[in-house]
Symmetry: C2
Subunit: 507 residues, 2 copies
């Protein structure tokens, strides 16, 4: 092995980034591909992370005045067609229900029967079915705004599925709001983009770049789409949330009309916004290392795992007793306004293997307890964001008093680390040559890890954007808010550019 | 109107029970039928009740050692066929996905394209797809038990849909467990039945009869199905939860095999159990009255609504100030271990209409505040479980100190009332004549409200059961645990009967 340190995940990020990603998920027992094409099974550890994502986002939605509701899984084909760009955008990836029962055929085998008069599409998103309902609910300006969110599964048939990142069925939340004025709808669109940014930063420990999507990347049917873009460890971008200002397009398609305060009949202004289980893929690729997953404490299913270290049977009883008492004491402490989530791992397996299983699952803090710790009233504490060698003994009381501080520190450190990584791999680029060089792998052994975020001037032409995507696999992630105002010249065409845009390869 | 009291819901229960049910849902703004055949839209008030149901059940599942996970929406046709009874049971009501995109046909209209090699069924329940995964996860007895629950949507094509009670798409939880021994699986089956009973009694305020389903009503593929049965106000039964002991049937179908502690290869023993959005229908029909919905406090989206009474504009400021302060004080109090959920209704509408809107929504407690209450430092308190005439003034502090007690009393009273109603309409029947008379409407103006729960002896013959269902619309709801041991003679055939069973008409 020479200088190379043994890692829990094979291959490492440098050796084979895409495969490393799959292996991290496997080692953490988060999810797996199912035998149903393109669909994943989210296993308990992965699901518990999603539950925490849901819990916090749901609270944030409610704090901003939204309520939840639930709309049908099925969308009649005719509804989807009401908005021309919308159906165009989704027609290629729709799961279509055509029959409502099974019957035995002449060969005795079951086959679809009871053909539906109109095929039903499994929702790829719910603007059209929800719009249909809003049209019934809204008569007067007094019925507005409607501020509804839905937690649901959606289906977009994926030809190249990739667990969490792109799956045929995925889970998400989709907010759908309707307003009396354009201004109100625009404020809502931005409010939710800000909420997603806040959530990404403060819960997922993922720094994200806010901006508007270019026309080519706009949600089908939207007037404007805004996104937050995060940088993964292979320096590719991952879209981590979108908020759409839909203007009156969907209101017109679904006939969401209201009588204004002035007694005029008007179309409502609508928005929609969503994040999905894709966020879990982003979490993995932002924070994990060559030993596996690292979960930010605020989203961790468990904050602390206690590992009894039992070399001799004679010590078992007093070690276990000490562990049980410690577990209770930890659970009585709070972090982030909730009792600390802790577990005592009593599984009958070899100690090293057991400890590594939690490293691979990304639990923020482990506490090893052997006869020595019992003797001295201490705890041998390891932090997932530090090397295993840095584990150290702490007096029991000190640990209990500092556990909240340690978790807070880990959460903060993860955001800082991800922010540094992003900043180190973000450049301003002012020529086409530099651009092409930046997005060309330098190391043939690591074709996956290269590039980063490039802020460059662009003339705004859609055809150029499409060429760049086709020829170099680079796209405009968004037109960032934080660099607006600096005029310049397009590095490809020399034409005038209103501001730099964010270029990157992406998921 | 004569002696007839005006009610908020038209028609009343006595006038037209099925229509009353629809009108209660409409008046409470809980849900509505969608334009998608058989599918409902759950509106915010209905959804908030479901969220509370989910929150408590989820906690109870976790407290009994279960974890959540998520499995695909789609089930390949071949999987469904692996268990013969199972596919037989669900073939007639399957939504079938046959295509994965849309394309324009010769007439320019979009039509399904990209036919799938194997049709996919939208899960009507997930035993087969989950079994397929468990087979991959289980190798040794050390991998057992698996104790997983999933919150999901399922689809069973309904020919006669009825909101909440029978809809093509509905939401539910489905627990799926696998065990090394028959005994363990049986204990699990009963544990979950008990958990559902506990939830029905203590949260939904619904008394339920526990028992085993007869063969005819068994879950397709199960060895034994157990249910809890509740009585609605039209005296029909509603199945409010089921728990299935699946034996090794599904383990065999999916090849869930493990190496036992003795080194022998064995099939696992599995269970499944579920409750659905149907519970909301049961809640409505158990508790609501002719003025609308009544929600048990533990599941109520709001516990208390404050209604400012403003006849003159000059009082507005001080009344609103008093209300705001009161709202804060109420929210600082707790009920059922959580802060009290309260709202100040500032909508600009007529006072009576406003108050009645909350009656119809079933909020447990309303507090009216006018200048008189501000003057005397009091609150005019109404309880949804009492007549509007019984509203009364209470000193502000007394109300605040007693709010927890009032809510507890309402919750308790609702269970007591439902239990009395059930007991009053439960009979022992010992002859076929009495049986037929019991299940025949006495009042031609109220064909819907009659009968009840009848405990009678039955010989156990499936064909007899089918005849009773066909001829009289009466079925065996379950074979109750609480009357076991009393032998007798079948009231229809005179043959030997091991115990009385529970007969009723049902939803």
């Amino acid at each position: 092995m020479g200088n190379k340190q043994k890692t829990a995940i094979t291959p490492t990020r440098e050796e084979n980034y895409p495969e490393w990603y799959q292996q991290v998920i496997k080692a953490a027992d988060m999810a797996q591909n199912s035998p149903v094409r393109g669909c994943m099974v989210i296993k308990p550890w992965g699901w518990a992370i999603w539950e925490n994502i849901q819990k916090h986002l749901d609270r944030m939605f409610k704090e901003t005045g939204h309520v939840n509701a639930y709309f049908p899984l099925f969308i009649p084909l005719s509804y989807l067609q009401k908005e021309a760009d919308h159906v165009e955008g989704f027609a290629k990836e729709c799961a279509v229900v055509t029959h409502h029962r099974l019957e035995a055929g002449p060969d005795g085998k079951l086959r679809p029967a009871g053909e539906l008069e109109e095929p039903l599409i499994i929702r790829p998103t719910s603007e059209t079915i929800i719009g249909e309902m809003y049209a019934k609910w809204v008569q007067s300006y007094r019925d507005l705004p409607i501020l509804i969110n839905q937690w649901a599964n959606v289906v977009r048939w994926e030809m190249r599925p990739r667990i969490f990142l792109r799956t045929a069925e995925f889970l998400w939340q989709e907010g759908h709001t309707a307003h009396a004025t354009e201004e109100e709808a625009k404020i809502e669109t931005m409010k939710m983009l800000d909420l997603y940014t806040d959530f990404a930063h403060n819960y997922m420990a993922i720094p994200a770049v806010k901006g508007e999507k270019s026309e080519a990347e706009r949600f089908p049917g939207a007037v404007a789409t805004y996104s937050i873009e995060a940088m993964m460890q292979d320096r590719k971008a991952l879209q981590a949330g979108t908020s759409h200002f839909l203007g009156q397009n969907f209101a017109r398609a679904s006939q969401i009309k209201f009588l204004s305060e002035q007694g005029k009949e008007e179309y409502a202004w609508t928005t929609s916004w969503g994040v999905s289980t894709r966020l879990i893929g982003g979490l993995i690729m932002t924070h994990s290392d060559d030993n596996g997953l690292i979960v930010p404490p605020r989203l961790a299913p468990l904050h602390v795992v206690i590992l009894p270290v039992l070399h001799k049977d004679e010590n078992r009883e007093k070690v276990m007793e000490y562990c049980e008492t410690l577990l209770k004491a930890i659970k009585a402490k709070t972090y982030d306004g909730e009792p600390i989530r802790a577990e005592l791992d009593t599984r009958d397996m070899q100690g090293g293997e057991k400890a590594w299983s939690w490293v691979k699952k990304g639990v923020p803090v482990t506490v090893e307890i052997g006869p020595k710790e019992v003797e001295s009233g201490s705890a041998y504490v390891g932090r997932r964001d530090q090397d295993r060698k840095e584990r150290r003994g702490m007096a029991r009381e000190e640990f209990l008093n500092r556990i909240d501080e340690i978790l807070t520190d880990i959460q903060k450190g993860m955001l800082a680390k991800a922010t540094s990584f992003r900043d180190e791999n973000t450049v301003k680029i002012d020529s086409k040559d530099d651009f092409l060089s930046f997005f060309t792998p330098k190391n043939p052994d690591q074709p996956e890890i290269h590039g980063g975020f490039a802020y460059a001037h662009w003339c705004g032409e859609k055809v150029l954007e499409e060429e760049l995507a086709k020829d170099y696999g680079v796209s405009i992630r968004n037109i960032p808010f934080d660099v607006s105002g600096e005029e310049g010249k397009c590095i490809f065409t020399g034409k005038k550019s209103a501001q730099r845009v964010l270029f990157a390869k992406s998921y």
